[in-house]
Symmetry: C2
Subunit: 466 residues, 2 copies
């Protein structure tokens, strides 16, 4: 769309909104009511407490994963959703059985490590070898061929802390493909500083990959204090040898379920606002921040809306399966619904912990911006700023949607300053969630979903592909 047309559309939508407002006084009263209820309700915290306590960790394919599916289905029904159903998703099933590590020389001491998802096992007695330190993945890639024969390649890169988590991208590169690059140079194992802003002795797990034709080697991260220790020992010109021992298993294709609950719209029920999170988690913690919070707060937000009204369009809460292993639930969902993605009038995933929402952003057609601004106005009482660049990225489970089609994607940007202290660690537990912050998130999602579903104008994506 060129600039002139955009300007005309913007101007005409301003005129339209001046004449006929997107929301009636009655509708705005309902928004206030929903926001107030959500801000004062413990429902989202209760759901989160129940999920993380009664089910606990939810690694795809485990008994707990199945329990989580049963839990979500039962909760949707208890909360009175009009329609509750499951959709199958398959994924490469993987288990962690045990793991331990030691620095052996110059002085024996524990090494806090964890296997990355998909890592193969070491032999039963582990792998003992000398560590070769690189500051970055690029430095490892630049190492001479065969220079790591019999060694453990170690990447010492430290993630930076930012409110929007922008330190994650540069750090996570080494997690995805580091083991491939290390193996190419002859390394017997790959080890990296955790993708972490934390100061505590937790190793952070996460997804990792192998490459056809490159020998698979065990693939672990170490905690930040342990990484500091190894860096200090290397700096002292010490020969640092370690033993790493991880026992894991790849179990082939597993099956799980996206769990979906919907409140039906009164006028255009086939059109829907999609909100949600992912139901699975890593196995180390109880997945309170990642992503029990997203699950609980979007379920609760929809419920709070339904207690006030059924909007014109449906509100659908999708709890995706097997996100951590590679967005498998999301891929299945958007593939299955590929012919009616145009029914999605707004999509937002909560998958960035449980700190406050500080910003609101859209990615929509210009004609839809008056609705966006009307929503933004109702988020101000929650201390949410309108970002206004209309370039929202959305959560990870919306990546397959963006790949399949343009779609009206929204972002309720959370403060992620501390998120990567806990992300993918054993320390991701319920006590890290502040109830008042979770309520603020719930209220923000409730306001957003209600208004997007009940607006006069149907929100449209930037580029239509009907």
């Amino acid at each position: 769309m060129n600039k002139i047309i955009t300007t005309i559309l913007l101007a005409s939508s301003f005129l339209a909104s001046a004449a006929e407002p997107e929301f009636s006084t009655e509708q705005l009263k309902q928004v206030t009511q929903v926001r107030t209820t959500a801000l004062n309700s413990s429902l989202s915290y209760e759901l989160l407490e129940s999920l993380t306590t009664e089910v606990g960790p939810r690694l795809p394919g485990t008994d707990n994963d199945k329990k989580a599916v049963a839990w979500a289905k039962a909760k949707f029904n208890q909360l009175g959703f009009d329609k509750v159903w499951l959709e199958e998703a398959t994924f490469p099933e993987w288990r962690r059985y045990s793991e331990s590590g030691k620095i052996l020389t110059p002085s024996e001491q524990p090494l806090h490590l964890t296997a990355l998802g998909n890592s193969i096992s070491t032999p039963k007695e582990g792998i003992t070898a000398t560590v070769v330190l690189f500051e970055t993945l690029d430095e490892l890639i630049a190492a001479p061929a065969n220079s790591l024969k019999g060694k453990i390649a170690y990447i010492n890169y430290r993630m930076n802390r930012h409110i929007d988590g922008n330190g994650y991208g540069p750090a996570v590169k080494a997690r995805g493909t580091g083991a491939i690059e290390a193996s190419k140079k002859g390394a017997v194992a790959y080890m990296m500083r955790s993708v972490s802003t934390g100061h505590h002795r937790f190793a952070h797990t996460g997804g990792s990959y192998y490459k056809e034709g490159v020998k698979k080697i065990p693939n672990v991260t170490i905690a930040n204090p342990d990484a500091d220790q190894i860096a200090r020992l290397v700096a002292l010109n010490k020969n640092v040898s370690v033993n790493i021992n991880v026992q894991t298993e790849n179990l082939g294709e597993g099956t799980g379920y996206n769990v979906i609950g919907q409140f039906n719209g009164t006028e255009n029920p086939e059109q829907y606002v999609l909100i949600g999170g992912h139901l699975d988690s890593w196995d180390l913690g109880t997945g309170a921040l990642d992503d029990g919070a997203g699950v609980a707060l979007t379920m609760a937000a929809a419920k709070h809306i339904s207690d006030v009204k059924r909007p014109k369009r449906s509100i659908r809460v999708v709890l995706f399966a097997a996100e951590e292993l590679g967005l498998w639930g999301a891929k299945a969902y958007f593939a299955k619904h590929k012919n009616d993605l145009h029914n999605i009038v707004a999509a937002a995933e909560s998958d960035f912990g449980a700190d406050v929402v500080y910003g609101f952003e859209s990615n929509v057609d210009a004609a839809s911006l008056p609705v966006v601004r009307a929503i933004a106005k109702e988020l101000v009482p929650l201390n949410v700023e309108y970002i206004g660049k209309n370039q929202a990225n959305g959560g990870p489970d919306l990546i397959p949607l963006k790949k399949a089609t343009s779609a009206p994607i929204f972002e309720l940007a959370q403060d992620g300053t501390d998120y990567f202290d806990y992300h993918h660690t054993a320390d991701d537990t319920l006590d890290k969630v502040t109830p008042a912050k979770l309520r603020q998130n719930t209220a923000a999602y409730a306001v957003f979903a209600l208004m997007a579903a009940d607006a006069k104008t149907t929100i449209k994506p930037k580029t239509q592909n009907k």
Copy 2:
């Protein structure tokens, strides 16, 4: 001593100090010089970094314990101490080999636990049993006889946070003797919430004991988030069964060494100021806070003094052995020196982490108070307040000294608000120490030790026992 005599002594010492000050202008210049040097020197941090990096954990009797003794002896010599020597101490040697835990029902999930020092092993496959929750040790003691047959007794008591660590005493009761009380009621194992103010998933180890005639049972603590989880499950009326597995060994009598360095006094070298910490640590962390900091800062404080002058009396740095297993080095030291304890003109141990010193307190004869006040005045620039109750308790390694005789004990009270977040965990690592705070501690010890060793008046204990 009655009140009137005290008053006369106080009055006379005031008069004396008015006439002849405890410290000359030249001496006070030296104090300023030592304080400034210590505040600007990285020596204590360098010593701490070296000990925790190159040696690491220092469980009594291990190879690392021996390395620590060699390290301390070598450092004392490098720093130019006039006299460096070892004194033997024996202790009950104990090892931790492995440990793991799981909640099994209602839903399987990891349980972060650690064996308490001295705990026996579980069978190889661990112990699986139902948890019976008590809020306090007293509640467990009040349980009916045999009521815990086949069960795991669990105490849920949570330690309170205070600047002076006064929550520790009430909480630690359950650590010392809980397993004895649980066993008396028929329990197959004893488990307790860690003695901890922390929010992270670390179990805190520590000393524990068995009793002749009461069956020994395995003895573990769990991390605070895990304790919360178990408490929630019990509150839901769930049958909570767990598997706990600890493999440990009691190795009989072990031998270690107090490592001692002294700068000799110029006038009364047989009299000495005793400062120090304990050289051993638990095996989980690298003992940076407990008690690498105390070791490093007292060594550095003595060195900074020696760079300016040799005071009238000697300054002796004692690095005690096997404190964690029951003050064995301290018992040996004060037994060996029992006939010349009157030579100690002031004693202070640093064993409470590495946060700032906020208070200064004595426990001395009234005639010595002018010296105390003169020292207190020179600590003010370091933001150290004079507590002035003259009731100092001193560090743990001074307990045998207090039992053996009255002695002029001092306390440089540290801010312990966060200390029990890290105490006895894997997370007690170098990154928890703030260099500027460690420098402040070093300066405070340097000022105190210099002035106590160089005062005109010899500091005397409250009750002489010559």
